[in-house]
């Protein structure tokens, strides 16, 4: 009997300690802004099936640490809240409610995941929370126009459009096949490729969908081979990219492979395909030649020395946060949500970051529409093969 009471007491104590740390929202004029601090939040999967992407949120933390060590923005330090939603919309919503109603953040940045983001998009809009750089290429962030969302991830359909354009005009190929994941991610890519080809009166040689759960891609490879495609554009998961290359090689099919920016880590892909990735062209939107990269990697050594992976996803954590910081700088000392939105809309052709030509206008909040292409060289080296390719479709 005593044991029962004892365990109950312990349980109650634990719950109370966990329950205490909810910061009380101050009666400040602007939510999340004090004389010395700006409160910013991000959610992302630190655990669960997509935990690999958790590095984005941690990298953003490193970026803010770096900024704070340099004195912050207009005398204000950034206070950053990085939360784990385990890729579950239910938790994302809880996190965002906590951000807005308990902590009272000024804005949110990044946020990996389309379905998790969609679960909170309207809630954030309702509470006028600025959201910079949702971390997927879905078109839902800028269409229809969202006043408080600033998207910096090139949309998948825009990216597919410029990649197809490159294959046709620069490589001079006519037979182009599209290999895509059978969901919104793949289908948005497919739409972009078709859009370009239709404008030239052409059609795809083959459209081959793959299911997320498929592992045997032999029939897919055969279909691609039968179409006689000279170029195959892929919009798939890394594992499918690796498998299709192996299977195609086995049946003697070797077109020029072009891949979406989600597979733009040549080092990783070269290793998992045991060298087959060499020669594959892929899109990238993080400027690897930017002088900022060196600075950021040094900051990582200083603020997060345990971070093992510092590849593309890690840099993306910086990429997503940079435009927000630029907006905060431009908004000046008198920071409000409206002054921030106005300041963001003055960003035009901005290049002092890891991206290219960031432009927001009062009617278009899709800031980045360009990618450039690289080719995988020996041992997974990056070889830059094009300059920035700008999306010129509708």
């Amino acid at each position: 009997m005593k044991r029962g009471i004892f365990s109950a007491v312990i349980m109650i104590c634990t719950l109370m300690t966990l329950g205490v740390p909810n910061a009380v929202m101050s009666a400040d004029a602007v939510r999340g802004v004090t004389d010395s601090e700006i409160l910013i939040g991000q959610w992302g999967p630190q655990t669960g099936p997509a935990a690999l992407w958790g590095t984005v949120g941690r990298a953003t933390g490193v970026y803010f640490d770096l900024l704070n060590s340099e004195g912050g923005i207009h005398g204000r330090k950034i206070k950053y809240f990085n939360r784990d939603d385990a890729y579950q919309p239910m938790k994302t919503k809880a996190i965002v409610k906590e951000f807005v109603e308990n902590i009272g953040v000024f804005g949110v940045v990044g946020g990996v995941g389309t379905s998790t983001g969609m679960a909170v998009r309207d809630y954030l809009a309702e509470h006028k929370v600025p959201w910079v750089s949702p971390a997927t290429g879905s078109s839902h962030w800028s269409q229809p126009f969202q006043k408080y969302i600033f998207a910096t991830f090139p949309q998948y359909h825009q990216e597919a459009y410029v990649l197809t354009e490159y294959a046709v005009e620069k490589l001079g190929k006519k037979k182009i096949a599209f290999f895509y994941q059978n969901d919104d991610y793949g289908k948005e890519g497919l739409t972009g490729a078709k859009q370009y080809l239709e404008s030239k009166g052409m059609t795809l040689a083959a459209e081959v969908p793959v299911e997320v759960t498929d592992t045997d891609l032999k029939t897919h490879a055969l279909k691609l081979k039968e179409s006689g495609a000279e170029v195959v554009i892929m919009w798939v998961l890394p594992k499918h990219g690796a498998i299709i290359l192996g299977v195609s090689k086995a049946i003697g099919f070797s077109p020029q492979w072009i891949s979406c920016s989600t597979l733009s880590d040549p080092d990783l892909m070269f290793n998992v395909t045991k060298g087959l990735w060499k020669g594959v062209m892929y899109a990238n939107f993080v400027n690897m030649e930017s002088p900022n990269i060196k600075k950021y990697l040094e900051a990582q050594k200083k603020f997060a020395p345990n971070e093992k992976y510092t590849g593309l996803f890690f840099l993306a954590g910086f990429y997503f946060a940079e435009p927000m910081v630029e907006g905060l700088r431009r908004a000046g000392k008198d920071l409000t949500v409206d002054s921030f939105v106005k300041a963001m809309e003055t960003i035009e052709g901005w290049n002092d970051w890891l991206g290219y030509n960031c432009t927001f206008t009062a009617t278009d909040h899709q800031g980045v529409k360009s990618v450039y292409m690289e080719q995988c060289g020996d041992d997974g080296a990056r070889i830059k093969i094009t300059d920035w390719l700008v999306y010129k479709g509708k």
């Binding site: 029962g4 009471i5 740390p21 655990t47 941690r58 938790k91 919503k93 379905s115």
Partner: protein
């Protein structure tokens, strides 16, 4: 001290005055809650209420009837999608769509119950597991359900009244939860509930007493699915968006964990289990901000694990709770509650 002298004493809802007073007081507490706390806390309470409905439903199947299910995320998804689709594509009002979603889910529960007549233990677990996964696969590949992107849920509405704000949503969700809890308590005192328990204790004995095994087993699946379906529909509105990816195997297992932690075969236990696990799921993400233990854990994690280490504390704590419950307290939180109650009943002496 717990002696009953006639049948009606056994089936009444409130056995003593204390129980009646306690129930009325807790209902009153639930009623004033939205005036006391902020939107964030209210959302967590909403999640707890929704999960409690699922846990009660799953407990009817697992705790009372002795069947197992690893596919309740599937019923949850069916409930969520049918309610939203009925409203968006069918123009059905919320008041009708909510029970309809439960009934559609119950129909699937009935169908899944049929194989359970021949399957037992691990085989049934695998069959239900397959069901749960098939549901999400089908939903995510159908254009009608919005594919991988899911669909946005409309507002809960009663004629001209729309549940927009947190407190309004709370009012709807909590009312449904309370009604369904009372219904479950009552169900267990009827012939049907007793038949479920008889099946759990011994199928052969139950059959010998005249319990129709095939009817009551499938019925148990259907009732359980009804509860889960209604909870799924409420979840769709709490999230304002449904997508297939969120109804995964982990969710099914979390539901089962709620029932086991709370206590098998007890409505009260199911509610406690749902409350504890939901609360921990949300709060353990921010354990690093808790006073004293937070910085300590953060330091341990930084020194000995990789940077993502602390985030995984949730799995560790959940695992530890499950193991502790199974070893020390097989009746779960409900067992602890019973012992405390017994202790205090004798208190002054």
């Amino acid at each position: 001290m717990d002696m009953k002298r006639d049948y009606y004493e056994d089936i009444q809802l409130f056995r003593t005055k204390t129980v009646l007073i306690a129930s009325v007081l807790s209902l009153a507490a639930l009623a004033v809650l939205p005036f006391m706390v902020g939107g964030y806390t209210l959302y967590i309470v909403n999640l707890i209420a929704i999960n409690a409905i699922v846990a009660i439903g799953l407990n009817i199947l697992v705790g009372y009837t002795g069947q197992i299910s690893l596919g309740h995320a599937g019923f949850f998804a069916i409930g969520a999608y049918s309610c939203v689709l009925l409203m968006v594509k069918g123009g059905v009002p919320f008041v009708i769509a909510l029970p309809a979603a439960g009934l559609i889910s119950a129909l699937f529960g009935f169908l899944l119950g049929l194989p359970s007549l021949r399957l037992e233990g691990p085989y049934l677990a695998i069959a239900t597991l397959g069901f749960g996964m098939a549901v999400t696969q089908i939903i995510s590949h159908s254009e009608f359900t919005g594919g991988h992107m899911g669909i946005e849920a409309p507002r809960m509405s009663f004629g001209p009244f729309e549940a927009r704000t947190g407190p309004q949503q709370y009012a709807v969700i909590m009312s449904v939860a309370v009604i369904m809890t009372i219904a479950a308590v009552n169900l267990m005192k009827t012939r049907v509930g007793r038949a479920f328990v008889a099946i759990r204790d011994s199928e052969i004995a139950a059959e010998a007493m005249g319990v129709n095994l095939s009817w009551f087993k499938t019925l148990s699946f259907a009732v359980s699915a009804f509860y889960t379906g209604v909870a799924g529909a409420l979840m769709a509105f709490a999230l304002e968006h449904v997508s297939a990816g969120s109804f995964n195997l982990i969710l099914s297992i979390t539901f089962l964990a709620m029932v086991i932690v709370g206590g098998l075969g007890s409505v009260m236990g199911a509610i406690m289990g749902a409350a504890l696990l939901t609360y921990l799921q949300i709060k353990l993400q921010i354990v690093q901000e808790a006073p004293l233990i937070g910085p300590f854990l953060l330091e341990v994690s930084k020194r000995f694990f990789n940077p993502a280490g602390l985030a995984n504390i949730q799995s560790i704590v959940f695992g530890a709770i499950m193991i502790a419950i199974v070893i020390f307290e097989p009746l779960g939180m409900h067992g602890i509650y019973l012992r405390i109650k017994r202790y205090w009943r004798m208190w002054p002496f």
